[in-house]
Amino acid sequence: MSEHQPKQKKIRPPRSFGWMAEYEDENQLLDAARKVRDAGYSRIDAFTPFPVHGIDEALNIRRTRLPWFSLVAGMTGTTVALLLQWWTNAFDYPYIISGKPYASWPAFIPVTFELTVLFAAFMTVFAMLGLNGLPKFNNPVFTDPKFDRATDDRFFLWVDSRDQYFNAEKVRELLEATGAKAVEEVWEDDSPTEVPKSIYAGIAVLILITLIPGAIVLNMRNSRSPYPRWHIFFDMDFQPSRKAQQPTTIFADGRVQRPPVPGTVARGELGPNDPFLLGYDPEGVAMGKGAAVNVQMVSYQQENSASQEPIEEPPAPPPPQPDTSAADDPQASATADASSEQAGEAPSKPAGDQAPTTAEDEGDAGAGPAAEGEPNYAWLERFPLPVDAELIEVGRREFEQNCAACHGLAGYGDGLVSRRATELAQGYWLQPTSLHEQRIIDQPVGRIYYTITHGKGKMAPYADALTPRERWAVVAYVRVLQRSQNARPEDVPADADLASARGDDTTNR
């Protein structure tokens, strides 16, 4: 550090720190170390450019405790890793990943392995530093420039003056007798121990510099400036895209918003009164109770709610006959009482988000063909599109993809989902309606179309999954199924077209 210190040292010799001997190869060093060790010295050390086999023994260094640190840390790592993974995956937030169990131990092993190694390695390094008393800023041995070669091509043996038997003269003689190239006394480094002022100053300056950006920001936040804002990302602040209602030069009419292209229909904007889409004729007169007024109110409401809410359950659509399996459903019968009171006005009541209101009350059973609460529209009795083999083929495909899982390939309500649910004895499962029930056979095509579009009870609506044409195709196929299972001999020649379309497949259930 400062130049006058070494001179001072020579004038007033400071306390001796020990003796250092220099050797040219490791075997000399080993021999010397053994001699010094055998002479009874214990505070000795060696400095070598590379690890020397046998030096531990020659210096009589006791076994290090380091492995114990590693072992304990490693075991901690194992435990922590296993607990962490078990807790996160199987306890705190059970989540199935790749179809494996929550606590899937094989999958835990890699992390466990890594954490074990990580903990053990960190502990080993830090414990090694700790046991060695590192980091240390200085050591008196560094005062000797010769010592620099300890990292290059010289081997040093060191006897500490704090050794119990230390005697400067004797040590020197001993070391010289070992054939050392040089033997020197190391002086305690008495250069001042306090940290130089300049270091404090440097640190202070650094801290000050780090404050500058913050200070600038603070200043900008609290002052006014005549200059325009400084844009770091100019093209992000000023984008060529326009906001609504703004003018533009891109289009001839100068408007940002574009009118629909003539002859197109925006999504969801198809005419709401089209019987093809509804399955019934909104203008027509409904059968039985209820009036066209009601129907129009319903379609008006649907139009309104469709814009804000996802597809809703149809307003109170109870099956007209109480003998369906739905009567077994506890949920359905529980809601039956509540809904039957309002059954008369049900069509105008916005559908709640609870289970569909099913009016199963026996008391209403005699209410005619359109039971209380049953949507009461002028159902289409005929298909609004030509029915041909191709349409029925589409229907077959869609039915087998979408419906057969529940209703069964032949429509008896015995699909795989249903069978499995029954097997598991799931109390809430409602047997899918058999499509061969007389009630369904009697339903107009528009009614079945409506069921597919809006779903019913446990059955989800298919308006999103199937296009209207596909829905009609499925209806046609349902008709085919019904005909195939209830065919009379005279049916066959009379309606060969429908019967032959998929007649073979539908019969094997």
């Binding site: 086999h53 046998g54 531990d56 023994e57 076994r63 492995p67 179809g99 094989p106 999958a107 890699p110």
Partner: protein, 412 residues
């Protein structure tokens, strides 16, 4: 370099040499006995399973022995390529182990004959030939057919035998001439030797072992065999050095440091084996693809799952903890115990890898049959090893590294 005083006897103890014919005879009888026992494994109605079980058992025991020799071959070459001094005094034992490989070709000939002259699918299902194998194997028949299989097996053995003979021969030559340039030559050829031996071992594992289940594949299979080979070799080395010292040989040449180093190697390969075995398992288990999991399916049912659990404990956890302490590693009797332990586990490992199929299920009879076969194969192994060694000195005589190896010291 007259470090080996002439008074020292460095050849096999005479008593051992006398036992060789007996060992061979016992070995032969045991293998036949094992064949007889395995024959009944399938029960009355399914004799072909018994035949298949015997062949699998024979192959497993065969690989048990061969892998030790391959480990020895790798060890010798690695010592040369690393210019290791410490191992100069123990290298000869490894060289002798590797030098036995030609005998193993001889013991593989029955299997080759079966592949060549019959179309029995008992060991290698692909051997049934086109039309009699599954669709997947059908596509592999261009590679897995008797002709190419035989050619490849000969190529693998050629590589192994060549390397083994070269390094053993050079070392013997040096015994006579004391020519230090021989060491340099060995160092030069060890590098290419390792590459070729590694390739031969890898593909040998695919052909000889993995193709017993030709629908299944694992790219790490060869590495698995390598890990198991090195591990069992180090175990064998520790046990042989211990036994030789008990018989009054190698007293001066193999010191505690050597044992300690062999033990460290063994420890390392215990972990390596576990790492490879687990990696293979984890990826297949996690991927859960039928084609890949089938192999484990066979091994996680029908009683084999307990063998697998024994492996996890006995091939990894127990020896891992057991040989972790330095005190244990420096104790010769303890390490000899762990060496034997590892060798037994290596046998269990080879059984687990090679025996189970969808037909061969674990049973007491199969275990005993396989055990007797193992005793037989190991007797043959030892008998042949003794023959092979003859009066070859057990330590290289004039290797320039010998003084360093003799003075080998690490710590207190």
């Amino acid at each position: 370099m007259a470090t080996n005083s002439s008074s020292e006897d460095l050849t096999l103890p005479g008593g051992w040499r006398g036992k060789a014919p007996m060992l061979l005879a016992v070995g032969l009888i045991c293998v036949l006995l094992s064949a007889g026992m395995c024959y009944f494994v399938g029960g009355e109605e399914n004799r072909s399973v018994g035949f298949s079980a015997f062949l699998h058992s024979y192959l497993a025991n065969f690989i048990f022995c061969l892998s030790i020799c391959l480990g020895g071959l790798f060890f010798v070459m690695i010592q040369h390529v690393a210019r290791a001094a410490w191992s100069a005094t123990i290298r000869r034992v490894a060289e002798l182990l590797a030098y036995m490989i030609p005998w193993w070709l001889l013991l593989f000939l029955p299997i080759l004959a079966m592949v060549w002259w019959t179309d029995s699918p008992a060991l290698y299902p692909w051997n049934a030939g086109s039309g009699n194998v599954s669709a997947i194997v059908e596509k592999k028949l261009d590679y897995l057919n008797p002709f190419w299989f035989t050619i490849r097996v000969f190529v693998y053995f050629a590589v192994w035998v060549l390397c083994a003979r070269y390094f053993f021969g050079m070392s013997r030559k040096q015994d006579e001439t004391g020519d230090a340039s021989i060491t340099l030559k060995c160092q030069k050829w060890a590098g290419p030797g390792i590459i070729f031996t590694a390739l031969a071992t890898n593909f040998g594992a695919f052909d000889i072992m993995m193709s017993t289940d030709p629908e299944w594949f694992s790219t790490i299979y060869g590495v698995y065999l390598f890990a198991a080979s090195m591990l069992s070799f180090f175990a064998m080395m520790i046990v042989s050095c211990y036994a030789l010292q008990r018989a009054g040989r190698l007293q001066r040449q193999v010191n505690t440091e050597h044992f300690h180093d062999l033990a460290k190697f063994q420890f390392g390969f215990i972990v390596f084996w576990a790492y490879i075995a687990f990696s293979q398992f984890l990826l297949y288990w996690y991927g859960n693809i039928p084609e890949e999991t089938q192999w484990y399916q066979d091994r996680m049912n029908h009683g084999w799952q307990y063998v697998g659990l024994v492996l996890i404990a006995g091939h990894f956890a127990i020896p891992f903890l057991g040989t972790m302490a330095r005190k244990v590693r420096r104790s010769r009797p303890l390490m000899a115990f762990w060496g034997v332990f590892i060798l037994v586990m290596h046998w269990v490992d080879m059984m687990f890898v090679l025996l189970p199929t969808d037909e061969i299920h674990f049973s007491g009879l199969l275990l005993i049959g396989h055990l007797v076969g193992w005793i037989g194969m190991v007797s043959v192994f030892l008998g042949l090893l003794i023959y092979r060694t003859g009066d070859t000195p057990l330590v290289a005589q004039r290797d320039p590294w010998i003084p360093d190896a003799l003075a080998y010291q690490v710590g207190p």
